[in-house]
């Protein structure tokens, strides 16, 4: 994905170009959705992505292109996810929504699918700090410097968080069976 194209679209959108705004959303929405699906949950990701873009469009007139628009947008998405988790923590506990992609516990799948599910659950089980760093660098493909910009932390912090996330995943997936890892996290 081309950061320059995304940033140019954001600047044009800021000046009222609706087509550029649509392009900006098209180019970034998958990454925004994936980040939110991992930082919050899949069931809310679409709503949170909508909230992210609404906030971004509201803040766009103060955007000065000093960092790439994609990094800027992902930082907003992260704040949206954090606000969502705070809101949810204040409310009485409701049953977690079951997204379509969720596998019923106990269903035995084989090969890559099972591995993929086990991996996803292991990623969801990471601590928030490590998950953020891991999702940004591994699932969204950001460089360490870009991830550091999104999270507002030093690059060295990204480095160590990614390494610890990897270590956690190695531990989780080294269990004798993927099913055991899967049942640990409901």
């Amino acid at each position: 994905m081309d950061d320059a194209v995304i940033t140019a679209a954001a600047l044009a959108a800021r000046d009222g170009d609706r087509a550029a705004a649509a392009r900006f959303v098209e180019l970034t929405q998958q990454q925004v959705w994936r980040l939110l699906a991992h930082l919050a949950d899949r069931g809310s990701a679409a709503d949170l992505a909508q909230e992210t873009y609404e906030r971004a469009f509201g803040a766009l007139r103060r955007y000065r292109a000093e960092s790439p628009a994609r990094t800027w947008l992902l930082a907003i998405a992260r704040h949206v996810a954090a606000d969502h988790l705070r809101r949810r923590a204040r409310r009485p506990v409701a049953p977690a929504p079951v997204a379509d992609a969720d596998e019923p516990v106990g269903v035995v799948r084989s090969g890559d699918v099972a591995e993929g599910i086990a991996l996803r659950l292991a990623v969801d089980a990471l601590t928030a700090d490590r998950r953020e760093a891991f999702v940004l660098t591994q699932l969204l493909g950001l460089g360490y410097a870009e991830a550091a910009e999104v999270l507002g932390c030093p690059v060295g912090t990204i480095r160590s968080r990614v390494a610890r996330a990897r270590a956690d995943l190695v531990d989780a997936l080294e269990q004798p069976s993927a099913g055991e890892a899967a049942t640990r996290e409901p």
Partner: protein, 277 residues
């Protein structure tokens, strides 16, 4: 591997806990530091200065060697896994996108119109004045005809300034001090002259065009500032959107250290390629 890169002498204890101060002796990495480096290497963000230390550690540490294999498997699994797709949100979020400002466009148009009127006034005054000097009443080394020429030239210039400002709004802010001083001085002097009967009210009324032009110029320039404030050193946290870009990390308060750009471009290219694939 970048041979030109100066060997770093570990002032980074905060970021690299467990890393010994002396890297020149090989094999002094502990397991945590070694695994952090192995992890960074998997992402193309490894530190070339640590390469030999890592290799030395791995020869003596089967656990880390095993960990590297496992980490590579996890990494491959992560990257080859199916990318989950979210819904298309364009139609849902587009209503919130910024709209072009109609008021500003109208202000620019009006400013251009004022510019044209002002130029016409200047030209008319110029045409009406040429050749009418009689050399009688001299003032400051010029007769009244020449004073009239100067005034007409000024009116012409101000008209051109309005017109140009309407087109190149970027330069409008720079004109405001000149226009402002001119208009304030003119207003005060016109008031005095009017009181003393030295000027006809009609003549003073024609200065109203200048005033209208100045007000429009201020409006257009301010709209522009809102749309494009130009370069600024930092984006700031504001209460309503809570966007923070490039501020020092809240938890430490320390400034963000310089980026480690040693392998940046190559690693980034590799990463881009992977992302597209």
């Amino acid at each position: 591997m970048n041979p030109d890169r100066p060997r770093r002498v570990v002032p980074l204890a905060g970021n690299r806990r467990g890393l010994p101060d002396d890297l020149t002796g090989m094999g002094l990495l502990d397991c945590a530091a070694c695994r952090e480096e192995l992890s960074a290497e998997l992402d193309g963000e490894g530190d070339p200065a640590l390469r030999y230390a890592v290799a030395a550690h791995l020869t003596g540490c089967p656990a880390c060697t095993h960990w590297r294999e496992q980490a590579a498997v996890v990494t491959r699994l992560t990257r080859t896994g199916p990318a989950e797709a979210g819904p298309d949100l364009v139609a849902r979020v587009l209503p919130a996108a910024p709209r072009p400002s109609r008021r500003r466009a109208a202000a620019r148009l009006a400013l251009a119109a004022v510019g044209v009127v002002q130029i016409l006034l200047g030209v008319a005054a110029l045409v009406g004045l040429i050749g009418h000097g009689d050399g009688s009443a001299m003032l400051g080394g010029a007769d009244m005809a020449h004073m009239g020429h100067e005034t007409a030239a000024w009116n012409l210039a101000l008209g051109a300034a309005f017109l140009a400002g309407a087109w190149w709004t970027r330069h409008l802010a720079g004109l405001l001090p000149v226009l402002g001083v001119f208009i304030v001085a003119l207003a005060v002097l016109s008031g005095l002259d009017l009181a003393a009967g030295r000027v006809e009210p009609d003549r003073v009324a024609s200065h109203g065009v200048l005033l209208v032009g100045f007000v429009l110029a201020v409006a257009v320039a301010r709209g522009r500032a809102r749309h494009d404030p130009g370069p600024a050193p930092r984006a700031v946290r504001t209460p309503d959107d809570a966007v923070v870009v490039d501020t020092p990390p809240a938890e430490t308060g320390r400034p963000v250290p310089p980026r480690r750009n040693g392998l940046g471009p190559v690693a980034r290219e590799r990463r881009r390629g992977r992302e597209v694939a």
